[in-house]
Structures are given as C-alpha cells and as structure tokens.
C-alpha cells in the first residue's frame, strides 16, 4: 500500500487533460497517483455498497469487507443498529478480525486483550489498574473507528467516508428502480444473499471491469470460444440444469441483428444500464418451464396479476451503479469490483434468494453465479483475460490515448440522461464524465 502523499497528487487541470469527449488518456488506468486520487475522491467520497442486511440479521453478525482504502467490519449491534467499523485495534493498531463473516458478541484483540462490542465500543481491558486513572473506556479514541455515514436502501447497506454526503437516494437516482425490481421479484418482498460467493482477482484497473459490464460489443468476439461449442452441443445434453448453462453460453452469441432492439442508458453520476436485452433471445421463459410457472403463481398470489406482469416485465440488464456495483435483477446476481491497486482489482460475485419463491429458483440463481462468476467460468475467464491484456498495453507509455468514440455521433439525450444503441461506447463516456467531475471536485 502506498502511503498517502507519497505521490504528487494530480491537479484538477492534470485530470481535465486526461479526458476528452471521446478519448481517455492511458494514465487514467495506469498512473498510481491518479489511483490515489480516485481512492480519495471516488471511493472516499461516494456512497459505496458494503453489505446486505440479510448477512447481518442478528446482533453480533458481521461481515468483513472494504471501504475505500480501509478494511471494515459491517456489524449488527446489540441495539439492532448497523455499524461500519475499521478493522483495527485502537490500542496498538493490530488487525482485529481475520475471517470474512461470522457471529460474535464480542471482538477481542488477541494482543493485549482489549475487548470490543459489535458497535465498536470498548467493553473491557484486562488489568484495568495498570492503565492511568484518566484512561476512559468510553472515550471514542479507545473505540474501533466508526464510519459515521451509513444508509440502507431496501436491505442494501451503503457507507461513505464523506462526513457530509448528499443523501444516498440522490446518488442512486433512477438506479433505485433496479434494487426495487430485484426485491419486488421476491413473493415475500424480501431477498436474502446466498451463502456462497466468488472472489476473483485480476491484474487490471477497476474501471476496465465496469466498462466491460457496459460493453455489448465484445461478447460475440471475446466469448466465441464458449458460444461456438454451445451451438454445436445438443439441446438438453446436460442432466443437471435444464440446459441453463448451455443457454447462458449461447446468449453471448448475439450479433448485429440482436443489437437492434437493445438500448443503453447512461445517467448523470456515472450509472448505466441496458434495456431489451435477451427479450427475444434464448433466455426467455419457455412454455413448459414449470419452475418459472410456479414462481410466477407465487408472485401473483401475493401482488396480483397486473403488478406481477410489471415486475417480471422489467428488462434491465447489467445495472451499473457508479462506481463499483453491478446488479442483475432478472437472475438475482450482483458484483462488486473493489480496487486494490492501480493494476489490481478484486471482484466479488454474489447471488440472492427470492424469499417466497420455489427453491428451484434459487438453484437457478446459484447456477448463474457459477456459470458467470466462478473463477473457472467459461465466460468470465475470457473477460478477465482481455481486461489484463488492456492493462498490460496501457501500462506502457506507448500512445497515450484510448478511443471511446464508437456511437459518438448518434447518442441522444433525454430528460434522464443519455441514450444510445447497443454498439455505442456511450456508457463509458458517461462513466468518464462522472469520473472527471468527481476527481476535479475540490470539496466533498
């Protein structure tokens, strides 16, 4: 980890010099000083997703995750409130919790046995008499450091290091609709995070992943090696998954014709999503799909026919919440890309259970998680290969500019933001416009 201020922080003018309307300078991906500024002004100022409430149901439940440059624990306190705490003992600085999740009524530091409550307050120290009379268990300096700003939207917990943030809802804007849609798909109106997830690390800048998620142009090229064998394979050859894996692999085989109906949407703040993808392709519900039929009936029983049609009819793929969250409501999938260094990114890939839906719906969602997010995924591994090759190319000073001009002349603007066809690089331009705004904003 590079110490803050070890590098010359780029000035606002430096940053402005890196972004043109349709080009971006390679330093945006490869310069550690730019990365440091991102950590401060994007990951240190914006609302960042940290955990889902279903992971911390009872007092003492915790998950370990990252916020900006910090490792944090998201905990539920005895008062049922959610806390976000820096995972560091305030005594002599030791890292406290060494597991990713669990339940613990007390966190005790193994070094000198200071013991903390799940809200981070200091519960006891051994041999109290050897500490000075002025030593105060209640003094926050002796507590685990708390992140003060925490807001939850329908079970999704966000936190920010910004002491004075605008409300979470302002940041999310129209992206609340996809969280709503994911939760509304559950007949019981609640989703639960699946207990398994994947952690995949690649050698590349975090933005490459976020751009790739908005890139409809690449699948027919990058994923050809899984599309072609899936085309040759007989239907229903697998006894495990009602052909789901083969169809998912096939789905990347869309070409110029399938692009026609797809619309890309870019929002201020850097968010983006796609509509009408897979609406007449292979992933559409088949007549004889009894699981989907049962699930639909369960939803209809709770919310009625009209509302069900509305919920299931919402067809928004790869919803990218700036800076680093991707939600896929239709398949109950979620990704978080966490920057580790300018050229290293950790991607965590999760799925959700729709409460009140048949168990088989969750099995499908688990299956999607494996097909799309496992380190051995026939899809994701090829994406990562390209992200790493981009980083390899961009790390050398050989031609400064990256081209994002595709679709530049035909993008449209409406009251909500930008619109374009599938072939456009509009989402990346929107992401970089937001990036520029965040990085050049002096005050939080």
């Amino acid at each position: 980890m590079i110490e803050p201020h070890a590098l010359d922080i780029p000035t606002a003018d430096d940053i402005r010099g890196l972004v043109r309307p349709d080009h971006v300078h390679r330093r945006a991906y490869a310069d550690p000083a730019v990365f440091q500024l991102e950590q401060e002004r994007i990951f240190g100022r914006l609302w960042i997703y940290v955990a889902h409430e279903s992971q911390v149901k009872k007092p003492g439940d915790f998950v370990r995750t990252r916020l900006g440059g910090h490792e944090v624990l998201v905990t539920r306190g005895e008062d049922e409130k959610i806390n976000v705490l820096i995972n560091r003992c305030p005594h002599r600085g030791a890292r406290l919790c060494m597991v990713d999740q669990g339940t613990s009524r007390l966190f005790s530091c193994p070094y000198h046995a200071w013991v903390f409550k799940p809200d981070g307050s200091l519960s006891s120290v051994p041999h109290r008499q050897s500490y000075p009379a002025s030593f105060d268990l209640n003094d926050p300096i002796n507590h685990m450091q708390r992140i003060k700003q925490i807001q939850t939207y329908r079970g999704f917990i966000f936190a920010t290091l910004n002491e004075n943030p605008a409300p979470l809802l302002n940041h999310l804007g129209a992206m609340t609709e996809v969280i709503d849609n994911l939760v509304d798909r559950a007949p019981d109106g609640e989703v639960e995070m699946g207990e398994s997830y994947f952690s995949v690390e690649y050698r590349g800048n975090w933005k490459l992943h976020m751009e790739n998620a908005a890139d409809i142009f690449h699948p027919s090229f990058v994923h050809a090696s899984s599309v072609m064998p899936a085309r040759k394979a007989p239907a229903n050859a697998s006894i495990l998954d009602q052909d789901q894996t083969r169809e998912m692999l096939l789905a990347n085989g869309f070409g110029f014709k399938e692009w026609e109906g797809i619309q890309l949407n870019g929002l201020p703040g850097g968010h983006a999503y796609m509509t009408n993808i897979y609406s007449n392709g292979v992933l559409v519900q088949k007549e004889a799909d009894t699981i989907a039929t049962q699930y639909r009936a369960a939803l209809v029983a709770k919310v009625g026919e009209e509302r069900t049609a509305e919920i299931l009819g919402m067809n928004r793929f790869n919803n990218i919440v700036y800076p680093n969250l991707i939600i896929n409501a239709q398949y109950q999938q979620m990704r978080v890309a966490t920057p580790i260094a300018v050229d290293r990114t950790l991607v965590r890939i999760y799925c959700f259970r729709l409460k009140g839906a048949p168990d088989e719906m969750f099995h499908r969602s688990v299956r999607f998680l494996t097909t799309l997010g496992s380190p051995a995924s026939m899809i994701f591994s090829d994406d990562i290969e390209m992200l790493e090759r981009c980083q390899q190319g961009l790390s050398k000073d050989e031609g400064p500019w990256v081209d994002f001009s595709r679709g530049f002349d035909s993008d449209r603007r409406d009251a909500n933001g930008m619109l374009s066809g599938a072939a456009s690089e509009m989402p990346m331009r929107v992401q970089f416009q937001a990036w520029l705004n965040y990085l050049t904003a002096e005050a939080a």
Binding site: G194, E195, S196, Y197, F198, S199, V200, E201, Y202, V222, A224, S225, S226, M228, P229, A230, K232, A233, P234, N236, A237, S238, I239, L240, D241, T245, R246, L249, L346, C351, D359, F362, H363, V366, L369, T370, G373, S374, P375, A376, S377, M378, F380, S381, D382, I384, E385, M386
Partner: protein, 163 residues
C-alpha cells in the same frame, strides 16, 4: 481392503487420467467419464450441497464436453498461450462400494498437486480428489469426481485446465 491387483489397477487409472490431462488429450480424458458422470469442484471446504451453494465447477458430461471443445478447438482467449500442466496424484486409497448395474463400484480418495504453467505465470493447486468409479470390463469409468481444492474458498485468478 482391496486386493493388491485391483488397488494397482485403480492407481494406474488415476495416473492415466493425470497423463491425459498433462498431454492435452482432453477428449481422451472426457472418455473416462460415464455418460452421466459429474465433475465437481466445490467452492467451500466440506461443501456437500451443489444446488444451494455455488460450486467452482459442477458439470456433467454434456457441459464438460463444451468445456473440452473450448480447450481443444476454439482456443479460448484465456488459453493463449496454451497452459502446460503437471498433475501429481498420490496417497491413493480405494475401497469397494458394492455393485452398480452389475459392475463393481469403488470409492477412491487421493491427494493431488497440479502446477499450471502459462507463459511466465505459474499457479499451484493442491487438494483432495474423491472418485466414485465403476468397473467397465477391463477399464474404469468415473461416475463422480470431486476436486476439493485446499483453498477452494480463497480469492482466485481464472482457472483453465481441469485438475
């Protein structure tokens, strides 16, 4: 306790599997599987449930054959250059597991180490294999192979060649 001959045959079968993988004969490797055979690599230590818990790989013959074609014919991007591997299998313990459609069945445990070389990258995998085997004539077929990576729940880079 198995008779030494069967024990030896099973050991040789596992060595053959390792050799097929190391020599890039993935079609030959796939032929070791029953038509309904399953290859399972859990994502958690001790995972018993492949439906509610995501696996790194949980594929039957139908999906494995797509994976194999991807390795052989389509040359996935992540397979350039083609990785080269050394699969080492040891501590092989086999026991009889009754009959399966008139054929003798066996449960086999083994440890493995696999080193994957790709360009100048080297990756080391290790863990335990458990097999459900059935005898078919002189040979064996895999009904289920479970690959329990020692660090199944860790952060991983993309995986390419079956272990």
């Amino acid at each position: 306790m198995l008779d030494p001959t069967t024990q030896r045959q099973i050991e040789l079968f596992l060595f053959e599997e390792a050799r097929l993988l190391d020599s890039g004969d993935f079609q030959g490797w796939l032929k070791l599987y029953e038509p309904q055979g399953i290859y399972w690599m859990p994502s958690k230590p001790g995972q018993t449930d492949p439906l509610n818990v995501a696996s790194i790989i949980y594929e039957d013959h139908g999906i494995l054959s797509i994976r194999v074609q991807r390795l052989l014919e389509e040359r996935a991007l992540v397979l350039t250059p083609m990785p080269r591997t050394t699969h080492v299998v040891g501590n092989i313990e086999a026991e009889p597991a009754g009959q399966e459609a008139g054929e003798a069945a066996f449960k086999v445990g083994a440890t493995f180490i696999c080193i994957v070389h790709q360009g100048d990258k080297q990756t080391l995998y290790s863990g335990r294999h458990s097999y459900d085997l059935v005898r078919s004539g002189e040979a064996f077929r895999i009904k289920m192979k479970r690959v329990a990576l020692m660090n199944s729940d860790a952060t991983h880079a993309p995986m390419t060649i079956p272990l």
